[in-house]
Symmetry: C2
Subunit: 550 residues, 2 copies
């Protein structure tokens, strides 16, 4: 148990244009990791760096002078930007295909301009001008979408702007009695958390994109953080939202609960910029934790680990963080552990017969008393199962590296390797079938192309009725056919998910990548309802074309 301190601080530099994160931080692949990967997917013998920035192609800006002047009149002339780097930075999000294209020098679809509003009123005025003049608008928070959520798709309009909310980054109000904090949408995860910690509170929402993702983005994409089992998904944390739409302001959420009809908050949450731009979000917060602790166990199998998580959550004593890696992910984690610690861990697991086991990480944060109570309650459940206690070190190692995955993806893309993730969820009774189906689909689809993948999976969010499954797949790129290779794997996995009764996305959202599967997800009538919502508030269809609604 240690002071709550593993959180990264707010990045001071803009994200690197062709990959993830801080441009000055390039962690590199360890020799152990490289050897392991070579063994699993073949040699990492290629060198495939991104092109230099100046070679990245963007189209000429299609924004008319009139349109530009109308936008400048709202936000000021220096807040309508169309320099090369700004346009490249807004040419997409951080999905594998996004990055692959940008690294190859293709940002041809980049927005014609990036507009930086400073208030709800400015957002509303920009939307009015855009609707009147037929300019598509892509709301842009942290730009961390991994599903094409900020792709500059024009939807038939001649010009397109990205509406970058970075200037709207304040904590607006704090209601300490009701434990509610109202934020502007552009504030990023670490800055929002720091504003709260300074006053003794925490939001506790830590998706892997935390360093750069924005509060508005969390809400618009229905995100889930790593501690969401304890502190709630963003949809459970949203108390109220204020939204600028082309037909006026929508405020949803006046009380902790209501029976006044359908829940319009839950219509805004997950609306991905298609219904309007979130200009304020009021979120539930809690008292800042005194301590955080991560304990690790080895379990015999994924099935056994899942049974433990199910029992914990159904007994109402699930830890705040619950994470169970499957055999392949566990092996990858254990094999990568460097030095004496790694040797000791591998030896211990093997000696105790857990060489083919699964790693279970349980994490708590809160007051010393509540963490002690939570651990004791979980321990009572764990006593009914055979597990090998590994102490807090592997858990701390996970917590320490938990925001690093995207950096490693960049390294691997430099070495001719595809890395992609996807996530789904279903009921406990359907999990075994879903787990196997997606794994098989990825192995088959990529194996058939001669690029057999390493497929890793973990459970990271548990509910009384089921859990999520998060997959990472890694394979050598099919050189010259990289995007077709990605599409084949993505399609195979998506179809397997739907056939096995999973949701097409547990927390990455829909964007462009999952849009073809939305009809299967919600049915024809569901799609009609989504279209009706869209048409009601955005009759000209300027808002984020090509996303979410088929």
């Amino acid at each position: 148990m240690h002071e709550s301190s593993t959180l990264i601080t707010a990045p001071t530099t803009p994200m690197i244009w062709h990959g993830w994160g801080d441009p000055t931080r390039r962690p590199g692949l360890s020799p152990r990791a490289e050897a392991l990967l070579a063994q699993e997917i073949g040699p990492l013998d290629r060198h495939t760096p991104p092109v230099p920035l100046e070679e990245v192609r963007v189209g000429p800006s299609a924004l008319s002078d009139d349109d530009r002047r109308a936008l400048e009149a709202i936000v000021g002339p220096d807040r309508v930007l169309d320099d090369h780097l700004t346009r490249v930075r807004h040419a997409g999000g951080k999905s594998y295909p996004d990055l692959f294209r940008r690294r190859q020098g293709d940002a041809v679809a980049a927005p014609d301009a990036v507009v930086l509003p400073g208030s709800h009123e400015e957002v509303a005025a920009v939307l009015a001008v855009a609707a009147e003049r037929g300019v598509a608008v892509v709301p842009f928070g942290g730009g961390t979408s991994v599903v094409g959520g900020v792709e500059p798709e024009r939807g038939g309009f001649d010009s397109l702007i990205a509406l970058d909310l970075a200037r709207m980054d304040r904590l607006v109000t704090l209601d300490e009695e009701s434990l509610l904090a109202t934020f502007e949408p552009g504030i990023r995860g670490p800055e929002a958390e720091a504003e709260l910690r300074r006053r003794g509170y925490s939001l506790g929402h830590f998706p892997q994109s935390y360093a750069y993702a924005s509060i508005g983005g969390y809400v618009a994409t229905r995100s889930a953080g790593q501690a969401s089992t304890g502190h709630g998904r963003i949809d459970q944390l949203v108390h109220a939202v204020r939204v600028a739409t082309p037909i006026g302001e929508l405020s949803a959420g006046v009380s902790p609960a209501t029976a006044a009809g359908p829940d319009l908050r839950q219509v805004v949450v997950g609306s991905e910029g298609l219904l309007g731009v979130i200009t304020e979000a009021t979120l539930r917060i809690h008292h800042a934790p005194e301590v955080e602790v991560y304990e690790a166990h080895a379990v015999r199998s994924f099935t056994e680990g899942a049974a433990i998580l199910r029992e914990l959550v159904q007994a109402g004593v699930a830890p705040d963080v619950c994470r169970l890696s499957d055999v392949d992910e566990t092996r990858t984690f254990v094999q990568q552990t460097e030095g004496v610690k790694g040797t000791a861990l591998r030896g211990y697991l093997s000696l105790r017969g857990y060489g083919e086991g699964c790693l279970l990480i349980l994490g708590w944060d809160g007051s010393r008393a509540s963490v002690a109570l939570g651990r004791a309650a979980a321990a009572r459940v764990l006593r009914g199962h055979e597990t090998l206690r590994l102490g807090t070190r592997p858990g701390d190692a996970w917590a320490h590296g938990r925001f690093d995955g995207p950096y490693l993806r960049d390294e691997l893309m430099d070495r001719g390797v595809m890395v992609e993730t996807l996530e789904t969820a279903t009921t406990w009774s359907a999990i075994p079938r879903l787990y196997g189906a997606v794994r098989r689909a990825l192995h088959d689809a990529l194996g058939d192309r001669g690029t057999p993948p390493l497929v890793l999976c973990h459970i990271s969010h548990v509910y009384p009725s089921g859990c999520s499954l998060y997959y990472t797949w890694i394979a050598r790129q099919d050189q010259g056919d990289e995007l077709a290779q990605w599409r084949a794997a993505k399609a195979a996995a998506s179809e397997a998910i739907l056939a096995a009764g999973g949701t097409i996305t547990h927390h990455h959202a829909v964007g462009t990548d999952h849009r073809p599967y939305m009809t299967a997800e919600v049915g024809d009538v569901g799609v009609s309802l989504l279209r009706a919502l869209k048409d009601a508030v955005d009759p000209t269809g300027i808002l984020n074309p090509g996303k979410l609604v088929p």
Copy 2:
């Protein structure tokens, strides 16, 4: 602590047509209660019984022979009913104005026929016929709405049917691993609970209407039960819904959580029959409790009691049932307590200086171990506050009588007395203002008419960010002008709620009574979204006209 057994069993007789509940059970007013009321609102010296059934006026059935035959072809000839009693029973719900009119013999608006479908397919076929032929349809579950939710408003159509779901009363599937139960909509509270208890499970959803309310009605009205602080409001318990709409079937909810766009489950929950008819609801269940325990405390003031509840819920240790009565409700409860127990209770409170105090009831149910843990955790919070422990008797008395309120309303209506309830909610920081504003509005509105009311209030649902307020008001009827008197009080209270930042309804839903306030609740853009949803699935507007959407 005692075995979990205070639940009423399923009623075997249909509800009395002019009031609440089992026709054979008419508990009567105790002499103590009568004396207390006389002191508060004036003498109960009038005799105002309902008219005999045969004197109740219904209009001639406007359903054409063709329409009737089309409906009979779907459900069978003996399932399209238009006898006098059946039409009277479906002429409205159980709100004060509903009952007042019916008791006076006015059921003129009664449905032209009552149709009893037996399956999703039959419901879908009835909706198709109704849409084609222009017949309004009021979905009818338990018929317990207290906000005009099942008023037979024709919305411009020549004829109207009530679609009574009583035949669709099965537990369809039970997923014991995922703790999910799928019910047909017409099964009533006690029967659903009994189906689950028989197998070791519980839904734990106990609104005051429990004895007669249906599962479909819970979902359609976004209901909250008395133990919702512990077990969740129905919107938190809904895993999936199947809905028959005029344009086809909507299934929403495939996994415990998803990021696939707006949550269409939360669009169906609270849709009050305007978007379709819920034909299946999959709900989260839990293991049946071994024990239940209710402990009572006296606290010095409503403010102090609210602070205790806030601290409990924000610490994550709120009991399953949390109920705090204000001074007037506490006095009414204490004064009514009969016999030696009552004398002792009054003496004890007065002696210890709590004669003007407030009653706090905390209830737990679950396994012996979890209840013990929950009580211990709450005790730690309570130790930081001055309370007078009253043991379990007052709590048991409340639990024993908790479904009896509506019976007492009937008694009072027989004596020329108006009884009405309303509920709202807001954030903790706004509660003091809301609490006072609604009380004053009711006192002023009814006092000004020469019928000063007794106004009782309690908190019954607590959330980390706020709580509900539930008001009961009792006043002598303004003879000859009873409905205007009710409207004046209702309007005054509703306007006070909105001005003080409360929601217009916390768990009674919208129906006809709260519809005029929906624009204030969700704004013009919110209303546009609701209308768009409605128009998308019910283009001819046959479904439950005149409710919810202004």
